[in-house]
């Protein structure tokens, strides 16, 4: 029961602030609502016993990426953009398509609930108390089976960093 309360609380906050993020005129407001969404998602992660991802979500997303966003929003002069139309001409088409998608996925998920042992109501394979220490397990996996992708990811970050510097640099 408590699980449900916690889940719905976080999910409600996440969806609500996501919707506000998409609709706000001011980009700073959007960023604040995105932060709220991300924090709520972090709560979901905690509920799912993924402590490391929870921390990473808060530190990296909220602390890192969003700060970057706010910086850029302040660098780019947005007062002009404030008075312009915020939504593009295709918004009704877009909404229609999105609704169709939501309908399809929802129907599929809903219709899968009657399948025994899988689908919508699939239960946890492992009870919460029997889970190994999350960070240890993650680290064991990361530095064992996924060592090479991990290194590649580091290279990717390096490349992204250099690329961002090059692009944002003033042309001389």
């Amino acid at each position: 029961m408590l699980d449900k309360v916690i889940f719905f609380f976080f999910a409600g906050v996440a969806i609500l602030s996501a919707g506000l993020m998409v609709t706000r005129r001011n980009a700073i407001h959007s960023a604040v609502f995105l932060i709220t969404t991300l924090l709520a998602t972090a709560g979901i992660f905690l509920q799912l016993r993924a402590e490391f991802i929870f921390i990473a979500q808060i530190i990296l997303y909220v602390g890192g990426i969003m700060v970057l966003f706010v910086f850029v929003i302040m660098l780019v002069r947005l007062d002009v953009a404030l008075h312009q139309i915020q939504f593009s001409r295709q918004k009704w088409v877009a909404l229609l398509v999105t609704l169709a998608l939501a309908l399809e996925v929802g129907v599929m998920l809903w219709s899968s609930r009657k399948v025994p042992g899988q689908g919508f109501l699939l239960p946890n394979a492992v009870p919460a108390g029997k889970l190994p220490p999350n960070t240890e397990a993650l680290a064991g996996r990361l530095f064992d089976a996924y060592l090479l992708p991990f290194e590649i990811a580091s290279v990717l970050l390096l490349v992204a960093m250099v690329g961002a510097v090059v692009m944002a640099k003033k042309r001389t």
Partner: protein, 715 residues
């Protein structure tokens, strides 16, 4: 022993010095100060003179038979094999220099007199604009003239020949802003072209006849490979393929003589020389008296071997020479321009030279050439000095009484006048007497009258006229009452040293220049003739046709007395008419008005030429102009243009509507087909994102249907 030495080995330097300075003047002369121009230009001519004199002395060091030095610098024109006498020959025209007694005389005259005139020009041209240009042209002329006299073949000689013609044109037209000067330059150039046509044809005929244009192969390492005209001619005569009076030789000789009449101003091509007096006076002295106009004489003497075998051509030369001599002398009588008188006198004296050549007295002709270049250069320079003193006045009627006003000019002028009049012991006397003596010697004693006696008579009469008009000039300029305009009178001044010193040197040469002929007085041969003899010998003594037959000493003196007598008569007449009774000559003129008019107007020769040739050529040009405008331009060019335009219009229509139409059609079709596809390509990424989502929805719709089936089966 063959001639050798520094100066001979550096023969090529003689024409090079003036060429270098000419190039310097014409390229950067504008920026040089006058003193530098004078230094370089006069200095280069002086260096040429020194080298020429050195070369002549080194040539004199060997025996007369070996006095030939030939130097081939490089092979210049090598067209390859061409038909010649006795099969194919390898025709080569080289750039080479030849020094033999004949070119010795010429090169000394050209560089010596040329140097003096250059020195004179420093003073004379000192106040003129275009100083560097004048000296550049003068040095270019020196180069061309030296190339002409030193050339070892006819083609190179022709290069010099055309070069001096060019310089003559440039210098006559030196004051090119004056229309008469520019016209005179053009006239000289065009008239010379007529002569050059004949000359060039003569060269071609020589090349095809002998297979070579080199004068001689003497003193060359390989006489067979380097054939010369002289040797080839001798061989052909020996083989009997050419004989005395052969038509081809006559043709060659006549064609070459046509060239000589143009360059040396003989009848009928003399008309350019009087007009050439439009140039500065040093130019008249150097080019139109001393050197260039004698090029024709030099050329005929150079080809004497051929002329000696062509008696008809010789007679033509002699007759043309004699005609020119008396004709020009008679015109000189009535001229009132001091330079024009001297110009006609030059023509007349050149006629003498050709008369000498025509009777086979080549050495006498060259002798007169040399003495004439001394005293005629002196006369011109003196005239220039007089003009200088009178601030540009050239009319004889406005001179007079200058004898003591400008002594440094008048004394040398008197010497030159005496020399040209033929008073012993001055240079002109010896050379003129030599010519008349040779002409008289050809006279066949058994006949009372033959053409040589007639030619001699003409020569003697001309000598009298010469003395008359020269002293007429002298008296009018220097003696009698002054008729100088009063405003000019006070400006009369003696010329600077740079002008008078050359006059004195030339006066000295005019006195002594003829003393080579002194041995004739005691019955021996002329030293000058003996010196030249190896170069003028011809191919065979016995068929030379010139009996040098010794005339008796008595007859020699008789002839001398005849010429001196008639000269004295001329002087006396001039004295009577112009000095003793100054009014008398106008009365004489009034007594024969027609003759006077004829002489004043120079026998209307210019007018006749205008009517006969110039205007006819103009008419022809006009006719051709009409043809050009109407037929060539109208029908030909415009027609072709019209046709091309019509065709291009058709072609354009085809191109525009059919070719381009097809291309456009293909483009339009593609364009039309692309419209539905293009509509998706908005370039805005969110629309692409919509499409992605749409695709996802469609896929999921399809996949969801399958999943529905699976789920139902599981149930």
């Amino acid at each position: 022993m063959t001639p050798s030495g520094y100066f001979l080995e550096h023969l090529w330097l003689i024409p090079l010095f003036p060429l270098v300075t000419a190039a310097l003047m014409l390229l950067i002369g504008r920026r040089l100060p006058r003193s530098a121009v004078s230094f370089f230009c006069v200095g280069s001519v002086f260096l040429s003179f020194v080298h020429a004199a050195g070369a002549v002395f080194q040539l004199l060091a060997v025996a007369p038979e070996n006095r030939v030095y030939q130097q081939i610098l490089f092979e210049w024109i090598t067209p390859g094999a061409m038909p010649g006498p006795g099969g194919l020959v390898n025709f080569v025209a080289d750039w080479g220099y030849l020094l033999d007694p004949l070119s010795c005389v010429m090169v000394l005259v050209v560089t010596g007199v040329g140097f003096l005139i250059h020195v004179y020009s420093i003073g004379y041209m000192g106040h003129e604009g275009g100083y560097y240009r004048f000296f550049g042209y003068m040095n270019l002329f020196m180069f061309s003239m030296l190339t002409l006299v030193l050339a070892n073949n006819l083609l190179l000689l022709f290069v010099g020949w055309e070069g001096v013609g060019l310089c003559s044109y440039l210098l006559i037209g030196f004051y090119f802003l004056k229309k008469s000067a520019a016209d005179a330059g053009k006239k000289a150039f065009i008239v010379n072209r007529i002569g050059d046509t004949g000359f060039l044809l003569g060269i071609f005929l020589i090349a095809t006849t002998f297979g070579t244009v080199r004068f001689t192969s003497q003193m060359l390492s390989d006489p067979v490979a380097y054939a010369g005209i002289l040797e080839t001619l001798r061989a052909m005569v020996d083989q009997g393929r050419l004989a005395y009076g052969a038509p081809i030789l006559t043709g060659i000789a006549l064609l070459l003589f046509v060239g000589a009449t143009g360059k040396s101003a003989q009848v009928p091509l003399y008309v350019w020389l009087p007009d050439a007096m439009e140039g500065p006076t040093p130019v008249s002295a150097l080019i139109h008296a001393a050197t260039m106009v004698t090029a024709g004489v030099y050329m005929v003497a150079r080809m004497s071997a051929i002329y000696q075998l062509a008696p008809v051509a010789m007679d033509v030369v002699a007759i043309v020479g004699a005609t020119t001599a008396i004709f020009a002398a008679s015109m000189a009588v009535a001229q009132n321009d001091i330079k024009k008188v001297l110009a006609y006198s030059t023509i007349s004296q050149l006629g003498y030279m050709f008369l000498a050549l025509g009777v086979g007295a080549f050495s006498a002709g060259i002798f007169h050439l040399m003495t004439h270049s001394f005293f005629k250069a002196l006369l011109f320079l003196g005239a220039g000095s007089v003009i200088h003193a009178l601030s540009g006045e050239q009319d004889l009627r406005k001179m007079g009484g200058l004898w003591n006003t400008i002594p440094a000019t008048s004394r040398p002028f008197l010497i030159a006048t005496l020399a040209i009049a033929g008073i012993p012991p001055l240079a002109g006397f010896f050379s003129k007497d030599e010519i008349l003596g040779h002409v008289f010697n050809r006279h066949n004693e058994s006949l009372i009258m033959d053409r040589y006696l007639f030619l001699w008579a003409i020569g003697v009469v001309t000598a009298g006229i010469t003395a008359f008009y020269m002293f007429r000039l002298f008296f009018q300029v220097f003696r009698g009452r002054s008729r100088v305009a009063t405003e000019l009178e006070e400006h009369i001044h003696e010329s600077p040293k740079s002008m008078t010193v050359p006059l004195m040197i030339l006066a000295f040469l005019s006195i002594c220049g003829g003393w080579f002929a002194l041995p004739v007085l005691w019955g021996e041969n002329n030293t000058f003739g003996t010196f030249l003899e190896p170069a003028l010998r011809g191919v065979k003594d016995e068929i030379g046709g010139v009996e040098v037959g010794h005339h008796t000493l008595f007859k020699e003196y008789l002839l001398m007395m005849a010429s001196v007598g008639i000269a004295t008569l001329g002087i006396w007449l001039a004295y009577r008419l112009y000095l003793q009774y100054p009014k008398l000559h106008s009365k004489v003129a009034a007594a024969w008005p027609r003759l006077h008019n004829l002489l004043i107007n120079k026998y209307y020769v210019d007018e006749i030429y205008d009517a006969l040739f110039v205007n006819r050529v103009k008419d022809l040009s006009t006719a051709f102009g009409v043809v050009d405008a109407k037929l060539i331009d109208g029908v030909g060019v415009d027609g072709a243009g019209w046709l091309a335009r019509v065709i291009s219009r058709i072609s354009m229509w085809w191109d525009k509507w059919v070719i381009d139409g097809l291309v456009n059609l293909a483009g339009k079709i593609t364009n039309g087909l692309s419209v539905p596809v293009r509509m998706f390509q908005t370039g805005v990424f969110s629309s692409y994102a919509v499409l992605i989502l749409l695709g996802l929805a469609i896929l999921l719709g399809y996949y969801g249907h399958h999943m529905h089936m699976i789920v139902r089966n599981l149930r």
